[in-house]
Symmetry: C2
DNA sequence: CAATCTATGTCAGAATGCTGACATGAGTCA
DNA sequence: TGACTCATGTCAGCATTCTGACATAGATTG
């Protein structure tokens, strides 16, 4: 076919998109019964591992804009899963924290998501997983470096 | 930390999401000057390689719902990038075709996207790319098989 | 043959995320 | 010090995608 075209059948980019799409669908499937979206879960997981993250930092970690994360955070705060101080201790960034309720909610979701990840890695050796890790890191680095 | 948790720093699922996010951003960046979204481009590319695909088939190929693809297809048809017969030759599926205008529009986009993919693969050997292909296929298969 | 199932195209409404914009706080630098 | 740059939180409007629903065409099955 075209020399400068993109053969979807052999394109790593296309495959990456497909894998991401399937993973997202699988996560949504197990999170829906818990009344949680992927972004919702990502936010809680990020806060569990790095307490005190600001809205903007959470947004970057969940790969959405800070505006989108702000909408989510306000809902999570209203429903008692997360707390933020009234005033910023420094600058304008408001460090967010999980409440006990947030931690309980996350526990179930985290187990469910872990099961999905285990399923995804089924049939892959340790070495292959390590290779996958390195390769994905390489792709991310290459795209980011020359991005700006 | 938690035994049943998901360590974002070492999670292949998280890394996959990150890679997909960065790739999408890179594609949007090069497609925006052409007035084209990623789904828009995907639709044209699919039609170039597999002429006669129906709306539902295009939706599956671009990883969106058929409703979303229908909205896009109607716009593409209105603007003269794509044609569909009035009546379905068989069943209800309407086979879509690129117009010359659609092909011209695709040519530029395809080259731009290919450049992004080349950039993404920079620094990876042939063997690593083959490994990446196999690994992504494995993940997709594992998630899909046990999905239902 | 009739009933059922599956897949398709399409319409309508809702949810989600994004872009644009503004004010504010902190660091930088001349 | 004062101007500038940058990051942040937040509001408003818009775009895109999704879910739900319906009618229809073909395949399957009893």
């Amino acid at each position: 076919m075209s020399q400068d075209g993109v053969d979807l059948g052999t394109s790593l980019g296309y495959l990456l998109k497909e894998a991401s799409s399937v993973l997202r669908a699988a996560m949504e499937e197990v999170l829906r019964p818990l009344g949680m979206s992927v972004t919702h879960y990502s936010c809680l997981e990020l806060l569990a591992q790095r307490p005190g993250l600001s809205n903007s930092e959470l947004a970057r970690g969940a790969f959405v804009t800070r505006q989108s994360m702000n909408v989510l955070l306000q809902a999570l705060e209203r429903d008692g899963y997360v707390t933020r101080p009234e005033q910023a201790p420094v600058g304008k960034a408001l460090p967010a924290q999980l409440t006990p309720r947030g931690r309980r909610s996350l526990a179930k979701a985290s187990a469910a998501v872990r099961a999905v990840e285990v399923r995804m890695l089924a049939g892959m050796t340790e070495a292959e997983q390590a290779g996958a890790f390195r390769i994905l890191r390489s792709m991310i680095g290459s795209l980011r470096d020359d991005g700006a």
